[in-house]
Amino acid sequence: MPHYALGIDLGTTNCALSFYDLTLERPRSIHESTLAIPQIVAPGTVEPRLLLPSFLYLYSAQEFPEGSLALPWEKGGRHTTDRAPGFAGEFARAHGVKVPARLVASAKSWLSHGGADRASALLPWQAPPEVPRISPVEASARYLAHLASAWDHAHAQGKGGAERAAAAQEVILTVPASFDAAARELTLQAATQAGLQNVILLEEPQAALYAWIEAAGDSFRKQVRAGDVILVVDVGGGTTDFSLIAVTEQGGELQLARLAVGDHILLGGDNMDLALAHTLNQELTAAGKKLDSWQFASLTYGCRQAKEALFADPKLKKSPIAVPSRGSALIGGTIKTELNRETLTRVLTDGFMPEVAITELPQGARRTGLTQIALPYAQDPGITRHLAAFLTRQARALAGSAELPVPLRGKAFVHPTAVLFNGGVFKAGPLKERMLAVVNRWLAEDGAEPVKELQGADLDLAVARGAAYYGWVRHGHGVRIRGGTARSYYVGIESPMPAVPGFEPPVKALCVAPFGMEEGTQADVPPQEFGLVVGEPTRFRFFASSVRRDDKVGQMFDDPLYGDEFEELAPIETTLPSDSREPGKLVPVNLQAAITEIGTLELRCLEKGGEGRWKLELNVRMKGD
């Protein structure tokens, strides 16, 4: 049995690791449970930090003095890699601003981007040809390897070290709830590449709720009651994630069930600081002061500090920002500007949390196609608009559902009764207050009670902490959130019809995995039969839906591309090995779906009337390549 549960938050902009001693029979102490991660903060300087910035700098051989980039665990000659050498963390982020072509950033967003070949070496995005590139999976693997080495360095040295090494522990790795099957699979691949062997995936909003439950301790049962619907709003550095979790009661015990998750929204706290910096930069440019990219990054950093100062003290009217000169003439070369409250409110509070009606929809299409190559950032920065769309869509989806743990019928949108905020963005009281005000107005207009806020734990570390706590929960302590898949999955079947130039043949969606499948279960086998040609790749189009809760395995639906209920994912494919079979022969198969204990989706082909079983791979490459 593993000694520790390691909860890892593999974030878009920061990673963190929290641990739980599984041999403890009592709850852990809050102080001794987050790993300080040694990282390079300047050449020759290694210092521990609680967060590892998720940035990787790929350096050239002559760029830094020899030995100045060695981490403590590399002194024994153990180097992580020979190809595309790089370092992660604070200095990577700081120096990468000056050398953007060598900086890998936002690897996590690329992992979930169906429009790009996620297994190929494509980062740094738009690097010149002589800079080595790595895949988003490898970048994620490097962050995880850094964390694992830091753990081993701190906890697994000396006698019996192998038993305490990260590889031997239970690792709970968090992913956005909105990650689709392929993105989860890739996250797992990254963990395997990093040498982590015993990995379970957990959705970030659930991890945040676990962190809250741990922090609340015994008062948890007083703060929520059966019938409550908890809305988790998780705004990370690069993504926004919504989840709804219902509180139910069985035999006098409170239970938690995840009802629904939102779509993947590439919009987060980093966008907010950038929006402020762009606004101030416009004013500076108008005054004839031009900033280079490094100064712009300092301005962005200064905006974050000024924002935090203004949000922390409502009496402050403005906060100064000084952008240092690039050269050594600091006095005279420093550009001074300021962030005033009016700009802050206009750009952030009104820009990102606009006061909208529940009926308003985000501008710009939902991500359905697989056409873009650059990251598909959200078109609409209005987080409240995305939330309105989520609650309305889910109300429609839940209305027709046969089994509901809490009463939701007959409402235009899902009424949350409690809200849990997560993510560093919500250190800002006014943003939280605005979001609460908007949700409460929607509720009041529908004749409902206002929500109560569940006071969260540490906003930066909650996800990692909650993940480690979940490791403890899995070993039979505390309350477990029941979830299952938050999507149903479909294989596309092209209907036979005469080819018409310019028209795609109509496609039907065959349900292979229903909504809410639990980990470690498999779905029935749909009666539909497919013919696979031995030795040749066969590819299926693949769809998912986060709102079709009651579709049964084997049901067939017309026109999945019409409307917004289905989302097309990257295709799935398999090649039947030709060993012991005649190449070119047609083998009849059925499809079967399973959710692994780890939390990933697995699709298999079962040979009809035979023993053959093949795994269908989730294709992580671009559609149509």
Partner: protein, 177 residues
């Protein structure tokens, strides 16, 4: 030319000779150890000043990197307006403060509030308390706390690698087109 061992300053031939003695007479071993130490003490060259003061130079490097302190102090402030000096001072203050918080915890040498009466007992620590004004007579002294002083409580400076020259406070930056 002697082949110097970089760690203790003994020559290769001295070590070789000692090795033979150890090999022929095991009981002689502890004497050898003492001999080696004496040799090292006698022969070790004094490290250069940048090695002796490496952590001080490191701290200057950190204050420059985060707070541009050397840039600031090396400039002549006389020719600039208060506005310009103030803008630069904000950069120095924010960055240098971050460095101090990172590496040290400080506490006052005297816990009383400045301006309040204080009794200095007999046998006081003359490094932590400095008497001013009409210094005469025998303790205990009664006076007023003018400045509470500062004492470092925790030091968290990182290890400084031998491979780098501590004299380099900040590299020259060359931007390639």
């Amino acid at each position: 030319m002697d082949v110097q061992n970089p760690t203790d300053g003994t020559t290769f031939f001295e070590r070789l000779g000692l090795g033979f003695k150890v090999a022929f007479n095991a009981a002689f071993a502890s004497e050898v150890k003492t001999g080696l130490k004496a040799l090292a003490a006698a022969k070790a060259p004094k490290p250069p000043p940048e090695r002796i003061h490496a952590s001080g130079l490191f701290l200057l490097g950190a204050l420059q990197r985060e707070g541009r302190l050397i840039d600031f102090l090396r400039q002549d402030v006389a020719e600039f307006s208060d506005e310009e000096v103030g803008a630069a001072a904000r950069v120095v203050h924010a960055g240098a403060r971050k460095v101090l918080d990172q590496y040290f915890d400080f506490e006052p040498a005297a816990k009383e509030a400045e301006g309040s009466p204080i009794t200095v007992p007999a046998g006081f620590d003359a490094q932590r308390i400095r008497l001013t004004g009409n210094v005469a007579g025998q303790p205990p002294f009664r006076g007023t706390l003018k400045h509470h002083g500062w004492v470092t409580r925790n030091i968290r400076l990182p290890d400084i690698p031998d491979s780098l020259d501590p004299r380099v406070i900040a590299p020259a930056e060359v931007e390639l087109p």
